[in-house]
Structure formats: structure tokens, C-alpha cells
Symmetry: D3
Subunit: 197 residues, 6 copies
Amino acid sequence: MTQHPASNSRISRFPVPTLNELPTDIREIIEAVHEKAGFIPNVFLALAHRPDELRAFMAYHDALMEKAGNLTPAEREMIVVATSAINQCQYCIIAHGAILRIRAKHALIADQIAINYRKADITERQKAMLAFAQRVTSESHTIEQTDFDTLAQHGFTQDDIWDITAIAAFFGMSNRLANVSSMQPNNEFYNLGRQPR
Amino acid sequence: MTQHPASNSRISRFPVPTLNELPTDIREIIEAVHEKAGFIPNVFLALAHRPDELRAFMAYHDALMEKAGNLTPAEREMIVVATSAINQCQYCIIAHGAILRIRAKHALIADQIAINYRKADITERQKAMLAFAQRVTSESHTIEQTDFDTLAQHGFTQDDIWDITAIAAFFGMSNRLANVSSMQPNNEFYNLGRQPR
Amino acid sequence: MTQHPASNSRISRFPVPTLNELPTDIREIIEAVHEKAGFIPNVFLALAHRPDELRAFMAYHDALMEKAGNLTPAEREMIVVATSAINQCQYCIIAHGAILRIRAKHALIADQIAINYRKADITERQKAMLAFAQRVTSESHTIEQTDFDTLAQHGFTQDDIWDITAIAAFFGMSNRLANVSSMQPNNEFYNLGRQPR
Amino acid sequence: MTQHPASNSRISRFPVPTLNELPTDIREIIEAVHEKAGFIPNVFLALAHRPDELRAFMAYHDALMEKAGNLTPAEREMIVVATSAINQCQYCIIAHGAILRIRAKHALIADQIAINYRKADITERQKAMLAFAQRVTSESHTIEQTDFDTLAQHGFTQDDIWDITAIAAFFGMSNRLANVSSMQPNNEFYNLGRQPR
Amino acid sequence: MTQHPASNSRISRFPVPTLNELPTDIREIIEAVHEKAGFIPNVFLALAHRPDELRAFMAYHDALMEKAGNLTPAEREMIVVATSAINQCQYCIIAHGAILRIRAKHALIADQIAINYRKADITERQKAMLAFAQRVTSESHTIEQTDFDTLAQHGFTQDDIWDITAIAAFFGMSNRLANVSSMQPNNEFYNLGRQPR
Amino acid sequence: MTQHPASNSRISRFPVPTLNELPTDIREIIEAVHEKAGFIPNVFLALAHRPDELRAFMAYHDALMEKAGNLTPAEREMIVVATSAINQCQYCIIAHGAILRIRAKHALIADQIAINYRKADITERQKAMLAFAQRVTSESHTIEQTDFDTLAQHGFTQDDIWDITAIAAFFGMSNRLANVSSMQPNNEFYNLGRQPR
């Protein structure tokens, strides 16, 4: 069964700079990611033609995904995958599906949430979290106090609700950038976290 | 990384008979599938409480998916996965995604089509096929002669167009049965066809 | 007031075989229907270019529509008409509207359900049945336990719920075949069951 | 086959005055309609609790439907039926479907247009007219010069386009009044125009 | 900051008669409005090529908007603005937004309701009124007794519910006429009622 | 005509820190904005409970809105207003509508674009820009090469297309944060740029 490698020209509809062309700070970050992951996730290369935007993107991403809080790292990735599924974003579902499998230590969960979170092997509390993320993504103008009350009944604090909202909103932005640029996920992501270790 | 085995009680919201309770003809078919695949796809067990319906389902399925014709077996599975994605059917995307990977000898294609066929690593002709299947699934009442003309320009015959239509229509039915029954895909399907052999 | 007879060429966008070209088993079934109804419903002719599919279609149809069960024959036809209305299927609304009028012995009910089941002259229990059929047709991925509970409160058993689901799903398939083929209902159907006898 | 007569209490969710309670001008109009049609269409009774609104409604109706112009009386009714189908208005489809059958001298056409005008036994020019009426009804804010050009190519003048627009708009209002009031069509309408004379 | 005056040719896609060409009764009404408002609202000019329709339009408008009743004049305008926002009608939002600001003596309320009535600075009772108007506008076929009950709990009578319905329905018609004709609001409307007096 | 001042408690559903509680860098930025604008736009206060996110938000905002490029500052604000209108975001339409009026030196344009950009007093090129922004906002997964070609025909470069995409995507995020937090625009924004100077 063959893997079809992505040629560089297919990473994005927009220009993709080489590492040498990048500002030092960005190149060093990318090299650090390369070192850690074993490959360079294409999102870094696809956004790199706009260094200021990439810096802000990374800062915002880390402020939401690397911060302390009640939501577990796996739960944050669940929100990313559920949001990206609504927006039909190839890059984000494949890449963050891999991260979700790893963080949740659950080989099946990313595919399940990408298809229909209502049937995924997650808790009722997590389903409520994703139902809210879905509303943030699709109809945020209709969110009312009752939505907050429902989440509170599942034990979510105001801080948690902000986290769910901000993660869904940030990746909604990311989905649009990836969809318009036709950003291609690295082949490595497809299989990460699927095998027992 | 753990696999979470499905207990029998989770296969369906409706009664699931044991093999011994089944009519002989159905039991023999299921045992043959078990022999060949190494496991019993849950769809057989989930539909078995209605033997007459299961027999018609299998006959219809085979008439569409096992017949000769211009559409390749992989292309038929592409239609199944694209249709099931619109209907957000967990069972059908997971099970037929596996079959698609195997038939297309392509490890990534099922995930790509399940997310957004427009960005999948397939031909323009196959994208036209899936665009039509999408219209059959979502707005068949608006299909007009121009749709047939577009397909003809891609080399599809009248017989091919019927095949696309009938496969999309049949699996639209299957999607609804699986969604309402909350039919669970066997864990085996998730990883089939993902690894080079 | 004139009736505009359908020329054979208008029955379907796909080939329509003559009776003589058909396999014996199918021809005999069609002749029996002709004998009983006084005309040959076009669906038989429009599907006959695919004998294996037609056989499976008829077997599935009869397994759902001719079986014993709590749902009355009229109620089964209500589900067909309500489903076909959502999918805007000319053949199915006209043909099954006629059958519904006859089975319900109610001259107005088919038009009412085809327009808006909420305002039809049916029971609250039947409205709950059609509300569920509508969800099966339009958003089956969101069906949850609460849907089952609502139906149970109206006295529907698990077997009844399967029947509603399977009828809505099967005719959703039929609607798509008829829409794409532009299958034309026989003129006879339009007036059947409208007059007091 | 029984006809289920509508008791007066079912004509509308709102108060229905008796003829004696009505202002003289309105009572005389209603009595003239009764004389001519053989029954009183319920719309007159359902709107009569608001005499000023009923007078304006009738004046507007007649200005659009009784005026001279290129659109035939049957074509005007086609627009009414197509619009009412989108809005799922029981009263308007049943009552104006009857008028359409009579004016078009075509027993099948109203049911066909109510289901899907694209498959109705009408001309391409009439389909273009109804496609525009559908856009007026569902997405009038997106109508652009190209819509006007398409209609001009089918021979429609500016005056005709205004007629199509105004009829679709007026009956869109009527549909909402009938839907909210749950206005019930007279049983007589269901069968009018269905039989050869 | 410049105001861009509308040349007469931009008022509508359809013919716009001069005052001298109009029937006397209509000209006198328009001159009276001119006298009172200081300018002629374009809707009069844009509808004037159809005098009978304009007369019916004005009569219907006044029957709904000038009548006595529990709904305040400002509340009636709220319904107009909320309905017109759903239909994205430039003329109606700008013109009736101005009237709403004046009648409500509230400089911000029209913009708020045009964007999202749920967040507007109005009472819960008024939000219930607009939620119902939204349902009348977007999905009147699904309105049921529970909608009436909800309004009754907010103190609305049957007469009030008819008013809400009829205003939403009438301006839904008006929105479609204005959208198709590309009716342009007078520049004067944009700023009316925005400044403290 | 009264202005209804917003009490601090109504700025957001989430905690709003006082200036003294903020990190020095953020407080200094806010004080500089206050100095320049004459008031503190509520978005700064509503996001300030999350300093890291606010810093990334401001950096991203400035990278998109303050950068050089072919799109004029007014055009960038047009994209913001059109996007925010789709998402029905009160804060963003009111605040950026004001900025748009000022940057475009056009008192009417913001209201027009917020209602329906197709009817706004802008160029065909700007309408193409907003049509693309609308697709980015509502259906980015369907964007194809033909969308890029259409924009190129209007003279937009690849860099311009990225700008349109990124601005629509960023403010789609901002819209969701504002909608969920029920962020309230300062009253000052409503009237800015409406009067000739």
C-alpha cells in the first residue's frame, strides 16, 4: 500500500518560502518543531510567507492550547477536531486528529469526533462541551444565558467556557486559512497515534 | 495506546440476535464473511433482527457493488464514503473507508474524501462523479439535463450515471439505518488498509 | 378538462425496456400488478433495465410495506408521502398519495401530508410518527435517545420505530432514483381515491 | 370514501365572525363570491375579523390577479402555487391549485408544480418564470441584473417581471397569514378541476 | 464627509413616474407626505408606476401601522426592522430604522435590532415578540399552539399576535418588492433620529 | 433623544478587569488608544482578562489591518463589516462600521454593507472582494481555482487574496468571541463618521 508523498508545490496555493528565506526567530522555532516531531508540519511553511501573522498565530495558538486550566490537552484537541469537521478542513482534521489520538491515548476517537461527536466514545460532559463548540462555530449569535447554564451543570466554569469559545473561534480562523490556501497535511499525520505502543 | 473493544450491547439500539437464533441462510452468509474477513462486520448483526430486510439489503448491495461496469470497485467505494460523510454516518465512513483504502491501494484517500472530496488525491473525473453523488444526496430534485451533460463530458455513460445515483441512494438509506440504530463499526475497520504491505 | 397522456419516452431519463425484453419472473410480477391495478405503475418499467436491482427493490419494499406490525397500512403510506414531500419526489408523492387515500379511506389526507403534516387531519400520535420520519430524512445523525423516548410516550415500540426508520430510509432511496431518472407517475394515480364510492 | 367536513371552529386560530357581524360592503362581496363559486372560500371568513385589512387584501389581490398583461391567468396561478409550495401553505396550495387546474384546463399541473416545478408539464419559459419566483421567495436580496437578463431572453418584459415579483411577494404574505392562523381550505377545493367536463 | 445624493435613475430598476404623471389622489398623498417629512420617501415613487397596487399597499400599511392596539408604534417598527433584517432589505431597514429611532426615542435601537434582536436594548417581552416575528418570516409552517402560549405568557393577546403576524407578513412582501426593484432609500433616512434634540 | 450609557457590568458576560489590574504593557496600549480615540473601545476591556490572548489578538489585528498592501484601509474595513454582518456580531458591525465610515469618508457605506453588500455604493471590484469574503466566511471548503481566477480578473494579486482571506478569517474569530461574550459596543461608535465635517 503506497503512501503518496506531497511535493512541496502542493503544500499551499500561496508562496511557500524555504527555511533559509525565513527570519531567524521563525526558522529556529520551525527547526525546534522539526527536531521534536521528526518532520515540519506544513502549517508552519504555509503561513511563513507572512512572518508577522505567523508570529501572532503561534502566540495565540500557544496561549490557548498550552495554557493551564481545567480542560485537558485532549479535550482542547477534541474542540479543534469537532470545529474543523464542521468547516471541512482537511489540514486541521488530519493534523489535530493525530494530536488528539496521542493526547487522549485513544486510537479511534479522532475519527469518531470528526464524523459525529454525538456518537463518539467520550463522556456526556465532553459531548456538552462539543455541542457548545458547535454552536460557537455555526450560530454564535444565538448563544444565550441558557447555554452557559447547561455548561455550568456539567461543571464547566466561566474560564472553561471562555477556553471552549476561544479555541473554537481560533481554529475556525485556522480552518478558513487552510481551506482557502488548500493547505496539505503532512502524510505523517494520517497514521500517528493509531497503533498501540 | 488502547483499543476500546465494543461490547455486544453497543452494536445497536435495536435487538441483536445471536448467530444461533438466525435463519440458516443468513447464518451461513455471515459465517462466510467471518471466515473471509476475520471478523463479522456489525452491520450484519445489526440488521439480522429483520431477516427479510437483511436479505433484500444484501441482494441490493451486491447488485450495485459487485456488478461489472465502468466504475472501478474503488470508485464505487468513493461514492459510499462521500455520501456517508454528508450524512455523518459513523459506521459507513469507518467500514467503507477501510474497504476504499484496500480497493484503491491508497492509505490516505478515505480520510480525504470523508473530509472534503474537492481536496482529495483523486482525478478530476472522480471529483465530477462525487460532485454528482453529492447532489443526488442533498438536492436530487434539482438535477437536470445539464448534470448529465457534465458527467458525459467526463466520459460517464448513462449506465455509469445510474450506478452513481443508485449507490448514493442505497447508501443514503444505509446511513439512515445506521444513524438511527447507532450502529457501531468494528474496531478492526479503523486501521485496515492504512499500512504498507 | 384534458388529461395529458405520458408517452413512453417520458417515463424516465434512462432506458425503458418493453415487457418482452424482461426476465420471466419480472414480467410475471408486472403482469400481475397490471391485472390487479388496471395499469402498470411506471416505477416497474423505470427500474426494469436493472433486473437484479428491481428484484431487490421489490423484496425490500414488500418486507417493509406488506409485513404485519402495529403500524397500519395507511400509516406506512403516510411515512412514504411525508418523506417524499421533503425530497420533492413527483413520482412518489403522486403514486403513494393515491395509495394513502385508498388505504386511509380519506380523500384529503395525502395532499395535506404532502404540504405540511403538522396541519393534516391525523392524530397527535401520527404527527409524532411523521416528525420522527422527518428527522430520519433530514438529520438522522442528530437522533438521540430522547427521540426514542418521545415515540415511546406515544405508544410506539422498538419494532415500530424500526419500521418508521426503515420506511423513511427506503423511500428516501426511492425518491433519489425517481428524481434523478425523472420518473413520471402514471396519470391514473392523480385521481385515485379522491371520489366517494 | 368520506369527506371530512370542516367545522367552523377549525377555519382559523383567530376569531371568525358570522356574515351578520360583517360590514355591509364586505358581506356583499362575500355573498357575491358565494353566489358565483357555490361556497365561501374560507380566506374571506378568516380575514374578516379585520375589515380594513381584508379590504386592502382584496384590492391588492385583484390589482395583481385580475389585471391585464402578458402573463395569462393560469401563469399567475402557477406563481401562486409555486410560492405557496415553498412556504408549505396548506390553504393556498389547495385553493389556488384548484383555480390553476381550472384556468389552465389541466388536471395534473397544480400537483406537479406544488411538488417540483422543474418536473411539471409546462414550457421552458414558464419554468424560468417559476425559477425567478422561487428566488423572489427564498433569496430576493441576491437578485441581480443577470436575473432580469435571463427573463428577458425568455421574452418577459419589465412589466412582466414586476408582475411575477409582486405576485410572489403578495402570496408570500398570504402564506404567512394562512400558516399562522392555521387557515383551513374548504373541502370543495381539493377536487375542483380534476375531472374532465 | 460627503453625502452621495441618489440620482432619480437609481431609485428603482423599474420605471419611476414624475409627480405630474400620477393620478391626482396619489399625487396629493405624496405631496402631503413631502410637506410633513420634508422629502418624498422613495417607496412612493418606486411603487407609483402601478397606481392600483400602490393604493392597496398604502391602505394595507395604514391598517397595520396606524391602527390602535396594544403594540406601541415603536414596537410595530421593531417588527418591521427585524423582519427586514432577515430579508436583507436595504430600503426597509434604513427607512424604518429611522422611524423606529424616532418613535422609540432611542438612537441606538434600530442598528441593534437590525444586527441581532437578541442583543438589543429592549425588554424580554419585546424579544419574544421579535422571536415570533422571525419565525413568521422564516418558518411560518412550523408555528404551533406552543408559540401562541409563549406569547400569551408575555401578555400578548390574540389581537396582538395577529398584529405581529400581519406586520411581519406585510413587510416581508415589501422587502421582496424593494429587493427586486433595488429600491434605494433616501439619504435623509440614514441619520434621522440619531442625534439628541 | 437619549443615549443609553453602558454600565461596566454590561460590557461582557466574562470578567472585566479594571485598568489597574492589567499588566503594564497592556495598560499602556489601552491608555494610548484612549488618548487617541477619546474613549476606550470595549474590546480591549473585554479581552483583557486574558492578557496573553489579548497580546496575540492585537498583534494579529495590526499585522492584517495596519500593513502596507494594495487593499486600502477602507477596503479592509469593508471586509470586516461584511464578515461581521454574516455572523451577526453587534460589537464588530457597530465599531468597525464607524471606522469604515471614517476611512472611506462615506457616511452611508457601512450601513449599506452591513445590510447587503450587493446593493452598496461601492465598485464592482469591491463587490467581488466582498463576494469572496462571504465565501471564506460561509463555505471556505468549496473555494476553488475559479474563485482565484475571478479575483485576478478584477486585478487582485495573490497577496491581496491572502489579505481578504485572512481579514475575513480573523474577524470571523473576533465575531465569535464578541457574540459569546455578548460584548457591547461603546455608544460613541454608533454616530462616528455620520456627519459632514
